[in-house]
């Protein structure tokens, strides 16, 4: 039989207390100093996606440039979860002194609310948008086995097609469901966790079509392993000039991923101006321009007000499209 010698139970209790203490002292940090001189210390740039993804890379490229101008470090903090809602809500609740920023993706504002319940969604009015960053285009690709070389082949096929999306409530899903409704193509929506597995499924002919972000699809497009059929941006993408837009093909689905930097609501105007200036400086740097080029991002360096107007416009547009075609992004069609 086992004994429980006192010394050992004391030890156990001691480590248990250590654990509790560790869990308890989580929220003590956070500087309170008022903005006498901004920035008063390091500026945290929170990213709601895992390290290594395109959103994270953008944040890091931006932080590198801006920290030089502002003269303070700008560490990137990854807090993945709920498509970025977790990080965004957390930053929205922080003091509005400009020391806490978040990298915001448009889909969280414009598309996610169509798929999840209201309390899980993020409202853009809870934040002050500092500046828009770039546009990341979606491209519709066809698997090698499908035989589709243009979108006309798809509409002419006159059969049910399978299409991979990068997940529920993403631009990839919205773009394809709306497109197929408009083109009277019946399709089976097969969601994947992200772009990579969706692309792999297309490469392996497990799905016939897939819509993924251009940066991810480009190596396989260049290798000739998947055929690009359409881009969903309003104008042709400079990295893929021979691929028509959905608009040219006669469909009304302007979907792309946009990104912007935001701060908690009520951030003082002079802080916002200073940040905006630092970002503008970064946008002009060769390193940042090269970064965009390399990742096939189209610069969309607009003011915070423009971001709000544009994104709200897209949110309304998508809502209208979804209602018009009676589409449910949450699968229970």
């Amino acid at each position: 039989m086992k004994h429980f010698p006192t010394r050992r139970s004391v030890l156990g209790a001691a480590s248990a207390i250590t654990l509790l203490a560790m869990t308890a002292c989580g929220n003590v940090a956070g500087g309170q100093s008022k903005t006498a001189e901004y920035p008063s210390g390091p500026i945290n740039l929170t990213v709601g996606q895992a390290a290594g993804g395109s959103t994270d890379l953008i944040a890091r490229a931006l932080a590198e440039g801006a920290s030089k101008t502002l003269g303070k470090p700008m560490p990137v903090v990854n807090k993945p979860g709920a498509n970025g809602a977790l990080a965004t809500k957390e930053v929205a609740g922080k003091p509005a002194d400009g020391q806490e920023l978040v990298l915001l993706t448009a889909s969280l504002i414009t598309i996610t609310p169509l798929a999840v319940s209201a309390d899980e969604a993020v409202n853009i009015d809870d934040l002050d948008i500092i500046a828009g960053l770039s546009q990341d285009d979606y491209v519709l690709v066809a698997s090698p086995g499908s035989g589709f070389k243009s979108f006309k082949d798809v509409t002419d096929a006159g059969r049910n097609v399978t299409f991979g999306t990068t997940g529920v409530g993403t631009g990839s899903q919205l773009a394809q469901t709306v497109l197929f409704k408009q083109a009277n193509v019946t399709g089976t929506d097969i969601p994947f966790d992200s772009g990579k597995p969706a692309l792999t499924a297309a490469l392996g002919n497990q799905v016939e079509l897939a819509t993924i972000q251009l940066g991810e699809a480009m190596p396989q497009i260049k290798a000739g392993k998947v055929s690009p059929l359409l881009v969903f941006s309003e104008e042709r993408n400079s990295f893929l000039p021979d691929t028509p837009t959905a608009k040219e093909a006669g469909y009304d689905v302007p979907v792309a991923q946009y990104r912007a930097v935001a701060a908690p609501k009520g951030t003082p105007q002079e802080v916002k101006d200073k940040l905006y200036g630092a970002f503008q400086e970064t946008f002009k740097s060769d390193a940042y321009k090269e970064f965009n080029e390399k990742n096939m991002l189209t610069p969309k360096e607009i003011s915070g007000e423009e971001v709000v107007t544009e994104w709200k416009g897209y949110a309304a547009k998508y809502k209208e499209l979804v209602e018009k075609y009676d589409i449910s992004l949450s699968g229970n069609k």
Partner: protein
């Protein structure tokens, strides 16, 4: 020569000073925890996962792999000298190894074990080198239906093959599957078991579960175990086995290599089962089975070879198919995911430096182990005297700090604590945590692949049998599920066979 190019480039990766250093660190830590009876490789890898976050993926995996196979070496030392298996996979080594030590042949036993381990490990790497690209050649044929079948088979095998009570293993696996359903349904966006918490919207992260159940759970459990005081080790001399001993053991080493290699590939297999199977095989083959338990060199050489071969070959399903074969491999899977690398058929092609870097590091690691293991025996034995009172709080602290750093989230730390308590209770009541963690990892894959397949098949489950790979895997699944039932019904008709002599109560230490 196209095939060999990436292999050679892999050596260039390993020989980078950083990677060599981390390989060395990995095998030393591995040996160390192999010697310590409490912590197993899975627990150590779980605890150290976050520390690998800031190094290159190749470097991280090289180190973690080193811990895993290094532990197989370390576990032997205490088995032989102190009759105290440092690892579950060295339990059977106790029988003959300790007897050899008592006969003054401790050096011979350790020497045989090291040589066997080296040969077994190296043979398995060579197997891995040639088998992996073949499996990876089917990369694009592996779609959702194939993954469904693989995940099903993996969960079943893990739950049924693992040592310990089958029912309890199945319960643990079921719990793992249940935990995998937490979070937003990726097909409908519906929230499941999140209780309105955004923290749970993406489900529970694998790393806090592993760190809690393996890391913290083990630490807590070890606190209440009383270790025998480490006796002064027997004198170690004559490390080089005599020619006669070598001749006696050479067959066992050869058989152990092959057996270990195949048992390692098998989902649910691994080092522990390989060592036990090898011991049983050697005993069965021996002309004088009564020598076993009294210091038979084959009884040391066979299992020690097999456990190393298995430790190495269990990387095959992970690196080529993205299916972890056992709990430790599930942790490697987690480590790769943290690094932004998804293990799977594409890995060899898309990430050859990583793949071959890791594989080739094992050659180097095995050589390092062979060189170090014998001279360092004395030091390692002394480490056994570090008291749990010091070791436990330090490791607990490292675990919790590590848990925070992955996502900068206190919620993760809370999760680690919760799962630490669950892991502790499971161990206490005889539930193996391995099946839970593995079912958790495979559960997500199983659910999403199956639903994806059914969408592709238009809801027709017979579609799984229309594809050669998934059909084969499913047939194997049915066989594995049905076979034990048939066997018991046959056994019932026959008169009961005499109970296997003195079954050792071996708990898989993960």
């Amino acid at each position: 020569m196209d095939f060999l190019n990436p292999v050679i480039n892999g050596f260039a990766v390993v020989l980078e000073p950083t990677n060599l250093l981390y390989c060395l660190i990995g095998v030393v830590i591995g040996m160390l925890i192999g010697v310590l009876p409490g912590l197993g490789p899975a627990a150590t890898i779980a605890i150290l996962l976050p520390l690998t976050y800031n190094v290159e993926p190749v470097t991280a995996i090289i180190m973690l792999a080193g811990i895993f196979y290094g532990a197989q070496y370390g576990g032997t030392i205490t088995s032989v000298l102190l009759r105290l298996p440092g690892e579950a996979s060295s339990v059977v080594t106790v029988f003959d190894g300790y007897q050899m030590a008592r006969q003054g042949k401790a050096g011979t036993a350790l020497g045989l074990a090291s040589i066997g381990s080296f040969i077994g490990g190296t043979a398995a790497i060579i197997g891995l080198t040639f088998l992996a690209p073949i499996v990876a050649g089917f990369a694009l044929d592996f779609g959702p239906p194939e993954y469904t079948a693989l995940a099903l088979l993996g969960i079943l095998l893990v739950a049924t093959i693992s040592s310990g009570a089958k029912a309890k293993a199945l319960i643990a696996a079921a719990l793992g599957l249940l935990l995998a359903t937490v979070g937003r349904d990726i097909f409908t966006g519906e929230s499941r078991f999140t209780f309105g918490s955004l923290q749970l919207a993406d489900g529970i992260d694998f790393v806090p579960i592993a760190m809690g159940i393996f890391g913290l759970g083990e630490i807590l459990y070890n606190l209440e175990e009383r270790h025998r005081a480490a006796k002064a080790p027997s004198k170690v001399a004559n490390v080089w086995p005599s020619r006669g001993d070598l001749r006696q053991a050479s067959g066992a080493i050869g058989r152990g290599s092959v057996l270990g290699f195949f048992l390692g590939i098998l989902p649910g297999g691994g080092a522990t089962i390989a060592s036990m199977a090898s011991y049983a095989m050697e005993k069965k083959r021996a002309k004088q089975p009564e020598r076993f338990g009294k210091g038979a060199p084959e009884g040391v050489a066979g299992p020690e070879t097999a456990n190393n071969a298995a430790a190495t070959s269990s990387f095959i399903p992970l690196l080529t198919l993205g299916i972890p074969a056992n709990a430790t491999m599930a942790l490697m899977f987690g480590a790769l995911l943290i690094q932004g690398v998804t293990p799977g058929p594409q890995l060899v092609e898309q990430n050859p430096e990583l793949f071959w870097g890791v594989v080739n590091s094992m050659y180097i690691g095995n050589i390092l182990l062979l060189i170090m293991s014998l001279p360092l025996v004395g030091i390692f034995v002394r480490i056994l005297r570090v008291r749990a009172a010091i070791l436990a709080p330090v490791t607990a602290l490292i675990t919790l700090l590590g848990a925070y750093t992955i996502n900068n989230s206190m919620f993760d730390v809370t999760l680690v604590v919760v799962f630490g308590i669950i892991g502790y209770l499971m161990k206490k009541f005889g539930f193996e945590p391995g099946p839970l963690v593995l079912a958790f990892v495979l559960g997500e894959l199983l659910e999403s692949s199956m639903r994806r397949s059914l969408l592709v098949f238009g809801g027709d489950p017979l579609g799984f049998f229309g594809r050669p790979i998934s059909a084969t895997l499913l047939v194997v699944f049915v066989l594995v599920a049905v076979l034990p039932v048939i066997r018991t019904s046959i056994a019932k008709r026959k008169p009961p066979v005499a109970a296997p002599a003195a079954r050792q109560d071996i708990k898989e230490k993960v």
